[in-house]
């Protein structure tokens, strides 16, 4: 889960996994994925019990909107 100067740099990376082509993501999409409502409440007193359990579904919805609701991106619950 890294940042690279461009797609070309990703593909040139010594540890690049050739099966990770669909792992490329634009920064704006990444900001959306990590900007879901639960991410905005990390300092709420009930974060762990109330907001954290919502993360998976929020992430799934964003991935769906981005056309990335694939096993590669969804992973496990």
């Amino acid at each position: 889960m890294n940042l690279f100067r461009s797609e070309e740099h990703v593909r040139r990376w010594a540890l690049f996994n050739p099966r990770s082509g669909e792992g490329l993501i634009a920064l704006a999409d990444l900001a959306a994925l990590f900007g879901t409502p639960s991410r905005r409440h990390l300092l709420d007193h009930n974060y762990l019990s109330f907001w954290y359990p919502k993360r998976y579904e929020e992430r799934r919805q964003v991935l769906e909107r981005l056309g990335r609701a694939t096993p590669f991106w969804l992973g496990e619950n």
Binding site: M1, F4, R5, L27, F34, L42, S49, Y52, W73, N77
Partner: protein, 156 residues
């Protein structure tokens, strides 16, 4: 032993707020003192909160917090600065984009070397908005399928 939800929420906040304030996570003795509990209870609660907050982890075979996203308690290549002070490290490049939500109204600067060439990547964010991206072609990359398996988290 069961751990009540309120205690886990409180421990979570002590850790996250300490990280926001100082860039460093507390030791379990501090958690215990802060909550008015016995030291061993603090250690037990630390393990319980790490288990509950899946994307966090302890340094292997210790009671030391290694990662508590979006922050990392060990240096990573993802350096975070706020108000010109580089005090924080992000867990990974992806989580670095979530740090903005912990510093409302402030400009959060993310600096990381590219793992291919070592040249710098610089981002600035404020309240979730990308203000600056250098170079403009910067991208994120997930090298292995997404997982919540703690042993694999540092490597995806």
């Amino acid at each position: 032993m069961m751990t009540d939800t309120d205690s886990l929420d409180r421990i979570f906040q002590v850790i996250m707020r300490r990280l926001v304030e100082t860039g460093q996570a507390p030791h379990y003795t501090e958690l215990a003192r802060g909550l008015g509990r016995e030291v061993e209870e603090g250690r037990r609660l630390l393990h319980a909160v790490i288990e509950a907050f899946v994307p966090s982890w302890l340094f292997p075979d210790t009671d030391y917090i290694a990662s508590f996203p979006p922050f990392n308690n060990l240096p990573t290549q993802h350096r975070i600065s706020v108000d010109g002070q580089q005090r924080w490290f992000a867990q990974c490049g992806f989580e670095s984009l979530a740090v903005t939500w912990l510093f409302a109204g402030r400009v959060v600067r993310i600096e990381a070397p590219c793992l291919d060439c070592g040249d710098p990547i610089r981002l600035e964010m404020q309240d979730g908005r990308l203000l600056r991206v250098e170079p403009a072609e910067t991208v994120g990359h997930l090298n292995h399928p997404w997982t919540v398996a703690k042993a694999q988290l540092p490597f995806i």
